[in-house]
Amino acid sequence: MTALGKLFRTTAFQLSLAFLVLTAIGAGLVLGAVAWQVQALVNEEITSTIDAEAAGLSEQYAQGGIRQLGLVIEQRSREPGSSLYLLTDFAGQPLAGNVARLPQGVLDRPGFVETAYETVDQVAPDRRALAKIFLLPGGFRLLVGHDLRDRARIGAVVVRALATSLIFLAALGALGGLFVARRVLRRIDAMSKSAHAIMAGDMSQRLTVIGSGDELDRLALNLNEMLGRIDELMAGLREVSDNIAHDLRTPLTRLRNHAEAALRHDGDKAGYRAALERTIEESDGLIKVFNALLMIARAEAGADRAGMSEFDVGQAARGIAELYEPVAEQAGVALRLDVEPGLQLVGNRELIGQTIANLLDNALKYGAPSIPSVLPALASSSAGEEAQACGEAKTHAARIEVSLSVRRVDDAIEIAVADHGPGIAAADRTRVLGRFVRLEGARSRPGSGLGLSLAAAVARMHGGTVRLEDNDPGLRVVLALPAAAGVSEPAIPRLKSPR
């Protein structure tokens, strides 16, 4: 399509065209009204002039009869101007005046009449006049009138003014429309171009935001946020598929190898049994990882309205702590609980509960000052969490304590799990939120590396964040979620601003 064609199809152009038409109609109406008013005014003036002259003539007639009237008319007819006079006898024969001929019958009706006429000198044809006819005694008729050339001239001026102003209006409207349309068009074209580039695969592109805060800017901002979210989701998807390739293939390979090995060796019944049991164990592990991945994916996909409800998060935390308390005790860890009462949260109780459980599980597993199997009770766990770095074997006073706290901080409810283990180096804190990330020292221990990713996904789903902090010594994981404001505020996931 040509640029002009595109222009004609823009909303801005169409709008300005419509505006132009409306203005033209308006201008026409205004000028028409003016013209009509002017006409009426001129007519009024003419009739009053005619009446005044007629009054003067009637005085002359009263003084000197028809003869004097004829003389006065002869005299006045000779004066320049646009006044018209005609005096005829009963047969219509002109006696005096400057009107040479009239259409048939005009003189028969007394009163005002607009009529064509011809002058004595015949200077111009097609003359029109407004005149008043009087019937005098003895069959004499008198016409006192006024030429309408002036009126016609005024009309012509008005028409010309109308036409000129219409041309100007059209020009201005078209220019304005063109300007607006081009301005909008250029920005939209730029947006379109960016969108094309993004569709072609360059997800780093963003729409230009001018900063004027107008509709187009707001649109661009919103679209950019949307793009940011899409980008993140796509990155997540890529990450998952990469991770799946690695972290699910490995156990699958193991599973297959064991089964194959069992088949190859003609074992006894007990041997087969052991191999099968191992197979089931491996597949259970896989199922758990798979479930965790699905749960993260669901949480990341955003609001899962069906599971959302308002609940007392302190109570939920208390329940989870109670669930883990015997395990902690068995492991020789003191589980300290610090919960503010009456904190309401709108969210998925199940997912938040699971997140707290994961964090506690992590803290109990990796939160002990020295790593080597302090926790025999946890040795049988199958799906575990991120490891905390234990490379630099920091030795802290053996305060084996894990604390779970729930408190309100401004508009957020912060659920924090803290331990006194080796902690996580600041450089690794963002990385461990990713899927399947397990730090050195944790690889040898059971776990899938999905616990903190679930925490991050759950936080995001509720419009909150996960922070990893130094507990000095140890690790503090803070899950900050927006508190339920008033009755129930929908937990719409907040979008991150585009990078």
């Binding site: 259970d284 998925n348 509960g353 799906a383």
Partner: protein
């Protein structure tokens, strides 16, 4: 355990054959319907103790089938078996009239335990007892008092609920997930052996000072409380 009549409504032939065979092996009577309509007819006519219903079925999906049965006042307990295993799927399933929900893939021991527990919940069954008695162990659900051989045993509230659930299903296997669901009201996978530790604490309180243990660990399945003396 007396044999139960179990209806399996499942369109996957392999899965259904496996389930039918496994249930028959443990002594139950199992029938199979391969689509929703056939399942609906069978469930209406046959007096089944439990129906195991897949969610995605040809001709009539699982949830509609359950709804239709409930509308016809067929109160057969239903275990929904589904590949959709998220929390909200479960909520939808239970709202539709299912009595329990199990996600695929499942362990047979888990399914069996759930089916056997469900079968007890018959509408014409007697009113719930207020006192559970088993081998000298007594649990009063109203006064929250537990005694064994006349001696009072002090339990934490959660321990009480744990024992209550176990005794309610005395003689039946109860899995760890079932305990987490009914005692703690959570449906996720317990990451570690948390439930085991709770059970061993409870066991210490009710069994340690007595010769005959009542609370048994069923390997590869879960727990069962039963009077082994009898």
């Amino acid at each position: 355990m007396s044999p139960m009549r179990i209806l399996i409504i499942e369109d996957d032939r392999d899965a259904a054959a496996y389930l039918t065979k496994a249930l028959r092996e443990v002594g139950h009577i199992a029938d199979h319907a391969a689509d929703g309509l056939a399942g609906y007819d069978l469930a209406r006519e046959g007096a089944y103790d439990v129906a195991i219903v897949d969610r995605m079925l040809p001709k009539m999906d699982g949830l509609s089938l359950i709804g239709a049965l409930r509308a016809q006042n067929v109160e057969t307990p239903v275990l929904i078996l589904s590949a959709l295993g998220q929390v909200d799927d479960r909520v939808k399933g239970l709202r539709a009239g299912g009595d329990d929900y199990l996600a695929k893939p499942y362990a047979f021991s888990e399914l069996l335990a759930r089916v056997e527990v469900l079968a007890r919940r018959r509408p014409n069954g007697a009113a719930e007892e207020t006192v559970y008695r088993l081998g000298g162990l007594e649990l009063d659900r109203l006064s929250h008092k537990v005694t064994r051989a006349g001696e009072e045993i002090i339990l934490q509230p959660r321990e009480f609920r744990l024992l209550e659930y176990l005794m309610q299903h005395a003689g039946k296997v109860v899995t760890r997930t079932m305990l987490l669901e009914h005692v703690w009201d959570y449906h996720f996978d317990p990451q570690t052996n948390v439930i085991d530790v709770h059970v061993s604490r409870l066991r210490a309180k009710i069994d340690r000072d007595f010769d005959a243990p009542l609370l048994h660990t069923i390997r590869g399945a879960g727990y069962m409380i039963r009077d082994s003396a009898r």
